[in-house]
């Protein structure tokens, strides 16, 4: 039996949105580490963003559902802890989409570069944590609006 190429599978994965930040895809996030065929089983390896992130289960379910819907007969999900996920693996397009959506993308220096709303650079940290494990709360002192910053890890 022939099966879709791994590139085809990657293309499908490209279209699955992150369940908590739907503006970026799972591949933008950089958590899909490998796709391979083991006989007629498609094995997808995913690394968690944060060990307790409740989205991880939903992500696995979304991948399975999407691949099954695309005609893949058998899907096996694998978790890989090492190397640990880093925001360095987030795609350039993912970073752009995040900023357009109003979330400041992760920066190597650990602090946001500019306000995703007005582009202001006078920023203050409100809290090291935010509405999901991957984000922190910041505020722009130029436009006075709070915004979320995608933590750099």
């Amino acid at each position: 039996m022939t099966h879709p190429t791994t590139q085809q599978v990657w293309d499908w994965l490209n279209t699955i949105p992150d369940p908590e930040i739907p503006v970026i895809s799972l591949t933008d996030l950089g958590i899909v580490r490998n796709v391979e065929w083991d006989g007629d089983t498609c094995v997808v390896t995913v690394t968690p963003t944060y060990s307790g992130c409740p989205a991880t289960r939903v992500i696995n379910l979304d991948i399975e559902t999407s691949l099954l819907a695309n005609g893949v007969g058998k899907v096996e999900m694998k978790q890989q802890l090492s190397p640990a996920w880093t925001t360095d693996w987030m795609s350039e397009s993912g970073r752009k989409k995040l900023e357009e959506y109003g979330i400041a993308p992760p920066q190597p220096g650990g602090v946001p570069r500019r306000c995703p709303q007005c582009g202001g650079t006078h920023l203050e940290k409100l809290s090291q944590f935010g509405s999901t494990p991957c984000k922190a709360q910041w505020r722009c002192q130029d436009c006075l609006e709070p915004f979320e910053y995608f933590k750099c890890i």
């Binding site: 968690p48 944060y50 060990s51 307790g52 992130c53 409740p54 802890l81 090492s82 190397p83 640990a84 996920w85 409100l126 809290s127 090291q128 944590f129 935010g130 509405s131 494990p133 709360q137 933590k151 890890i153």
Partner: protein, 255 residues
């Protein structure tokens, strides 16, 4: 490097997983009750990370145990005497100062231990430590900042933080009270002997405590019995009542 028994490895994994499980549960008790929204969210997120780490530690513990159990079985179906967490993490939250000081004392310990575990001879432990280290580093950064902010804050916040430190200090020594199990793992190159980590730990916390204008207690007295399971405080049973009641009342119940 020598081989280590499955029992010794299991014991070690319970010590790691029970610390994060019980502290995660304690910290989650603040959800909806913290003094300000940002702190509420921060505490809930910290609890979530700790719970995630628990899943990894107890998941591996269940695998090593080899009885077909899961992390959930270990979390919800053991009784007090089988828990191996430090007494520190089962203490009631007290006021916000005590919660934050306990968090800092634990975060500092967790980040030091996880740092060493990244070179463990056990591949699974190495991978868990690599993942958990990133979260622990973030936690200790935040709890240290908060200790400094409140310590070097108002008279009231300073006094409460000093009170919290004085109260919790006798529970710090247990972290480094190693036993034969620890020495076996150290010899096998799986985990560091906790006794050897005290200087590194003290250096880390002293820097923060001093910056927060607080005074390091000079007593060496240590309450013990948590990590060996020989004598937990009365508080652990109460936590388990709340945490385990659903599985106890409806055995095998699933979402």
């Amino acid at each position: 490097m020598t081989d280590v028994s499955q029992d010794a490895l299991f014991e070690f994994l319970l010590r790691m997983g029970d610390n994060t499980l019980i502290l995660g549960h304690r910290v989650s008790e603040w959800c909806g009750h913290a003094p300000i929204l940002e702190e509420d969210i921060a505490l809930a997120n910290t609890a979530l990370d700790l719970l995630g780490q628990t899943q990894l530690w107890l998941g591996y513990a269940a695998e090593v145990q080899g009885e077909g159990k899961t992390a959930d079985d270990l979390a919800f179906l053991r009784d007090v005497w089988d828990f191996r967490n430090l007494l520190l993490v089962e203490l009631p939250n007290g006021d916000f100062a005590r919660t934050i000081m306990r968090q800092f004392l634990f975060d500092a310990f967790n980040s030091v231990v996880l740092g060493h575990l990244q070179t463990s001879g056990d591949e699974n432990i190495r991978a868990i430590a690599e993942k958990a280290s990133k979260e622990a580093a973030y936690h200790v950064e935040r709890s240290a900042d908060t200790v400094v902010g409140l310590g070097d804050g108002t008279r009231e916040s300073h006094d409460r933080m000093q009170g919290a430190l004085d109260f919790l200090w006798p529970y710090v020594g247990e972290m480094f009270a190693s036993d034969d199990n620890d020495r076996a793992l150290a010899e096998a190159g799986i985990a560091p002997d906790p006794a050897g980590l005290r200087d590194e730990y003290n250096a880390l916390i002293k820097r923060v405590i001093t910056k927060g204008t607080l005074t390091m207690p000079d007593s060496d007295f240590a309450h013990k019995g948590g990590r060996t399971g020989s004598m937990h405080t009365e508080h652990l049973g109460h936590i388990l009542c709340e945490m385990q009641w659903l599985q106890r009342a409806y055995p095998g119940c699933k979402w």
